[in-house]
């Protein structure tokens, strides 16, 4: 009896170990023969926010995914056999505090993080400029990255735009998506390729109420009413030409605020009208759970990702849904909106700068971005992301939007924007949604006075 139990336990142990340690056997290089690049020696400590290190299964699609460890074994470790990588995975929850501690204590050389954090760390002198490394490295081509993201983002460039401190590797997807079926039901013309705020508001109003075909309650419009970074508000400021402020984040004390201009009044008038159209829960980011799916009842969603539709397609090959939901450009005059950029950055006191640069280059390369797209549906930052599948129209649209993207002072890198403006606008939206919108000019005058007082308190 004892022998049998022992035998069974041994088998279980062997199979468990085999399952845990085995490689997926999948090709992660796209058929490219990996060869040694350099004999460079060194140790690089890499702190990654949210990356998956071990092989696993995508929770939404059920498809197997290859973790970073296997990818590095099959690629980087063969290309740079003498560079030792120490990889730390940090969950996104409270990542700023943890990575800040790593930067202060000198425990990380290369980091992947959120763009706003990177921008703040740069302003605090914790990050290294990359210009000298880029200049002397002929094998690195900065032109492979989207222009708007590489050169016009607070997440990769210094506040005055003169220094490069980050290399973009992943984008947030924010685009306008509409439901063709609801447009058909209501007999409304579909959105143009680059719809402005007026077109959206006009068509959304026509599709709010009882659906003439199904009799269900329909909502013409949706956006998140408590977005941390107020991305829809940012897109609207671009659309209406409301700059909100003038100056540089480098000299934050001397920013000149323009929050109560006629252009800003137009932004808020639009929000006041639009706030009547979404489902009530939008003020707490609820109500769009079915958008992109069969049971959807929202005609137009702003700053949407298309994630649920693509997941349905990937897991069930549901082409019908893919045809039903159509992405168009964002609200800005060129179709731009607020684009989240997650970069790789290098610590100011990186121990081995050359080895760290090689690691950074590799982790932002075409090959790595292809791997991240294929396994985790990350949106790449490349001009020529030819690995994006033909049916993934949402990523393609996000890339189009990113191409024309640019950072303004109404951005999460601006501390007053994050602490006061975005929350104040969210508050305005929720008041407007309940039919108690404050007087717009007075609201903006108060916000302007508050901003001026905030700046004065810094001096």
């Amino acid at each position: 009896m004892k022998k049998t139990v022992l035998l069974i336990l041994s088998f279980v142990l062997v199979f468990t170990m085999a399952a845990c340690t085995g490689s997926s056997g999948k090709d992660v290089t796209g058929g490219v023969q990996i060869e040694k690049v350099s004999d460079m020696q060194g140790t690089v400590r890499v702190a990654l926010a949210g990356w998956q290190l071990e092989n696993g299964i995508d929770a939404l699609t059920g498809n197997p995914t290859i973790g970073l460890n296997e990818y590095l074994d099959k690629t980087f470790k063969k290309m740079y056999p003498n560079i030792k990588l120490e990889v730390y995975q940090i969950p996104w929850e409270n990542v700023k505090a943890k990575q800040t501690a790593m930067l202060l204590s000198g425990d990380a050389d290369v980091l992947y993080t959120g763009g706003a954090f990177a921008s703040q760390w740069y302003q605090e002198g914790l990050l290294r400029d990359l210009d000298d490394l880029i200049e002397k490295d002929t094998s690195f081509d900065p032109n492979i990255y989207l222009e708007g993201i590489m050169n016009n983002s607070y997440s990769t460039k210094s506040p005055d735009g003169s220094k490069q401190f980050g290399i973009p590797v992943a984008l947030g997807r924010r685009m306008t998506i509409y439901d063709k079926k609801l447009f058909e039901d209501w007999g409304v013309d579909t959105l143009t390729a680059q719809p402005g705020p007026e077109e959206i508001l006009d068509k959304a109003k026509k599709m709010t109420g009882k659906n003439p075909k199904t009799g269900e309650d329909n909502y013409g419009l949706y956006w998140s009413g408590n977005s941390l970074n107020g991305s829809t508000f940012v897109a609207l400021t671009l659309a209406f030409g409301a700059k909100g402020a003038e100056g540089s984040l480098k000299d934050i004390k001397n920013i000149k605020w323009h929050l109560n201009t006629p252009e800003m009044v137009k932004v808020l008038e639009w929000l006041k009208e639009a706030a009547k159209l979404p489902p009530a829960g939008f003020v707490n980011a609820q109500g769009a759970e079915n958008f992109g799916l069969e049971k959807n009842n929202i005609a137009i969603a702003l700053d949407s990702t298309g994630g649920s539709t693509m997941s349905e397609y990937r897991s069930k090959q549901n082409k019908e849904l893919l045809d039903r939901f159509e992405p168009v450009l964002n609200l800005g005059p060129k179709g731009e909106g607020w684009v989240a950029v997650d970069p790789f950055i290098m610590a100011k006191n990186a121990k081995d700068v050359d080895a760290s640069w090689e690691v950074m280059k590799f982790l932002t390369s075409y090959m790595t971005q292809k791997y991240m797209y294929e396994n985790f549906s990350n949106t790449p930052t490349l001009k020529n992301a030819d690995f994006v599948t033909p049916e993934d129209k949402f990523v393609k649209k996000a890339l189009e939007i990113a191409e024309v993207g640019h950072s303004e002072l109404m951005d999460e890198a601006n501390p007053f924007y994050m602490s006061d403006i975005a929350p104040a606008i969210n508050g305005f939206i929720s008041q407007a949604a309940s039919g108690h919108a404050p007087d717009i000019q007075k609201f903006l005058d108060d916000l302007q006075a508050r901003a001026e007082k905030w700046s004065a308190n810094l001096k």
Partner: protein
């Protein structure tokens, strides 16, 4: 000199005093064993408190925590900021309702459970009411955001719809949102409060009730004249702990209302105000100044509650 009795006494006294200031091996061992705790308290409690106070008089930006000295400027900014007062009002409002309803309901619940004759049933109800207390604030907020879903698809709205009532914007109507938060926090805290009251109820001497029985007192009179006065220290404890907890409200309002304290700023609390300034605007100086203002408010409230209790004692 020391040959006289007085001189001998003085010499003995001196040598004793000397011995008193000389560390013996036992003294060293004592300090050694308590060192981890002392170091922990100094490094993780006392130092941060003083560092925060120091920081509150400075203009900090980002990681530059030792910026220019600005005196009371941060305190002045906060006290002149209407948002701070709005946050304080919301915090008080939700705190008062949470504490009052929490204490009254949990005391009634504890009394009912305590009067159960069936021991197994008593344990069953104790467990049932305590269960929500082990659920994290994040999970509770998520759960209630679905229970209180504002349209007719929400569970609570579906139920009230059966009685012909219109859906309520539990977390979307500024008039209602604060009370919804109170209800949610009651669900989480009721079990803990009930267990504390139960422990108190079981410590009331039986002979007091027996004496009351002899005097012909009914259940209500015994509850009012024996149980409640006897549990006064527990009521005070609950009141103080509830007040402190209520003044520090953050997780639930942040998860539901975001950084704006939506809807319409009705869920904006003082700690959310501190969070916004500390972690979104990197204004640690302002954030620590408001933290100290909050500390003072809690201190005054606690002292006031304790004073009330002491006055009552003196009347007794």
């Amino acid at each position: 000199m020391s040959s006289t009795p007085e001189g001998k006494w003085t010499a003995d006294h001196r040598s004793m005093a000397k011995r008193r200031f000389r560390f013996t091996r036992n003294d060293w061992m004592g300090y050694l064993f308590s060192a981890p705790l002392i170091i922990g308290v100094v490094v993780f409690a006392i130092y941060p408190m003083f560092a925060a106070l120091f920081m509150s008089f400075h203009q900090t930006s980002g990681l530059n925590l030792s910026g220019a000295w600005v005196g009371l400027s941060n305190y002045r900014y906060a006290l002149e900021d209407s948002l701070f007062w709005q946050a304080l009002t919301n915090t008080f409002m939700m705190g008062i309702w949470s504490v009052l309803l929490g204490i009254v309901l949990s005391f009634i619940l504890a009394s009912l459970i305590n009067n159960l004759k069936w021991n197994l049933g008593r344990n069953f109800f104790k467990a049932v009411y305590f269960l929500p207390n082990v659920v994290s604030g994040v999970a509770t907020s998520l759960l209630f955001s679905f229970l209180f879903f504002p349209s007719k698809e929400g569970l609570i709205n579906f139920v009230i719809g059966l009685f012909g009532m219109d859906p309520v914007g539990w977390f979307t109507n500024p008039e209602v949102a604060r009370y919804s938060i109170v209800l949610m926090s009651l669900w989480g805290a009721l079990g803990y409060n009930t267990i504390i009251f139960l422990a108190g109820l079981q410590s009331v001497p039986r002979d007091l009730y027996e004496a009351a029985d002899v005097d012909g007192a009914g259940t209500y009179r015994k509850w009012w004249y024996i149980t409640i006065p006897y549990l006064r220290p527990i009521f005070v404890f609950m009141l103080i702990m509830g007040t402190i907890g209520g003044m520090k409200r953050f997780t639930d309002v942040w998860l539901i209302g975001g950084t704006a304290g939506n809807p319409g700023g009705s869920l904006m609390t003082v700690v959310l105000y501190i969070y916004r300034n500390a972690f979104l605007a990197s204004q640690m100086g302002l954030a620590t100044a408001v933290s100290y203002l909050l500390f003072l408010i809690i201190l005054i409230l606690t002292a006031f509650l304790m004073l009330l209790n002491r006055r009552k004692d003196s009347l007794d």
